[in-house]
């Protein structure tokens, strides 16, 4: 039987209601952002052409700058960034391993889909932080999406047989991405342990994921 912790919010829990303490939030989102950067760096390493490699350097810079902004915020609050991030790095590493992709195309769609979902997730979660943090605005600032979408659209246009493989990979990705987002909530919020509470908070994030796949002409 559902046992709401607070009657008033039992019917509709927003992601913001599940926000963790600020230090956990910053450490976790910095760790995830560094993971995005590493995925893009992997795509730079395996890029099939010089043009593709160059196009990925801007997304690499954007994710690295986001990461550094979050770390500076931890340091400004006199937190040991490495120690805070160490609490989350194992989970993020395992997630990256699961979503690494077999080739450049899969790596690029991983960068697009998982960063899109998780940046969205952390931006919404941030709305519930006890204290608003200006640095968190980076999560919804300049994004790496445009360049990634252009690369993927060109790749699918050049080889239409990629579409079904990438659609399948996209489905696998959203599963793994939801799992890490859920784990992030459970690790830092008592209320999130109540499964019935956290299912609905993902509805909007999944809708946004579907739109991202649509942009590539792929079925989510």
């Amino acid at each position: 039987m559902l046992k709401p912790r607070r009657a008033s919010t039992a019917q509709r829990v927003e992601l913001a209601d599940l926000a963790p303490d600020l230090t956990s939030f910053l450490g976790q989102s910095a760790c995830v952002q560094l993971g995005h950067f590493q995925t893009i760096a992997q795509a730079i390493e395996t890029a099939p052409t010089v043009e593709a490699r160059l196009a990925l350097t801007r997304p690499a810079a954007v994710t690295l700058e986001r990461y550094h902004t979050l770390v500076r915020e931890l340091e400004r609050r006199e937190q040991d960034a490495a120690a805070v991030m160490a609490r989350f790095s194992e989970g993020v590493d395992a997630f990256r391993q699961a979503t690494a992709g077999r080739d450049w195309y899969e790596t690029v769609i991983t960068a697009y889909i998982t960063a899109g979902f998780l940046d969205d997730f952390f931006a919404r979660l941030a709305e519930g932080l006890a204290e608003p943090v200006r640095a968190v605005a980076v999560l919804s600032g300049e994004s790496a999406e445009g360049k990634l979408v252009a690369l993927l659209q060109a790749a699918i246009e050049a080889d239409p047989t990629l579409a079904s493989r990438l659609a399948m990979w996209g489905r696998r990705l959203v599963g793994d991405t939801m799992l890490i987002a859920r784990a992030a909530l459970v690790a830092t919020s008592d209320r999130a342990a109540d499964e019935a509470h956290i299912e609905p908070v993902f509805t909007e994030l999944i809708a946004a994921h579907t739109r991202r796949m649509d942009t590539l002409g792929l079925t989510a």
Copy 2:
């Protein structure tokens, strides 16, 4: 028999005398800088601890910013950056393959030694550009060296048996690095094809390399 092209400089050729045209210079040094970035990204990926990974993010940002500064300079001159860089990317890729290292320690010393040597090389070469380019100042601006040195010193202190392996790797690195620097000259300067001309220009660069190895307590 030595056959000097210009009698006045036959006895002593400076690196700056061998400067290529500006477009080649920018494309080649951007390509090399992107290679440095990729090596550091590889070290981030294989870092043994969260602290080491975090320490490498600043060098990654520095090299990426240098790269972008050089590319912006190409674009400002209405050059197609990808096309210019494509002329040099195969050589840089082969160089990176030869200097990739077998593990994290070797990758970090590669980042330190090859970037130190080549940034020095391009900074001196830049002095001979027909037209001074302010952007080129990035090559001797904030460097990634400090963090890399600290990581390597800590690693060698923690495991002194690393020293002889890394000293050996350093010797291998300087050989490969001189080869790519020499190839860079030959590709863009007629005068450099004269072997007797380019041997002496490396003397100061090798002295600087020896100092870099000294800093780690390693024999060059």
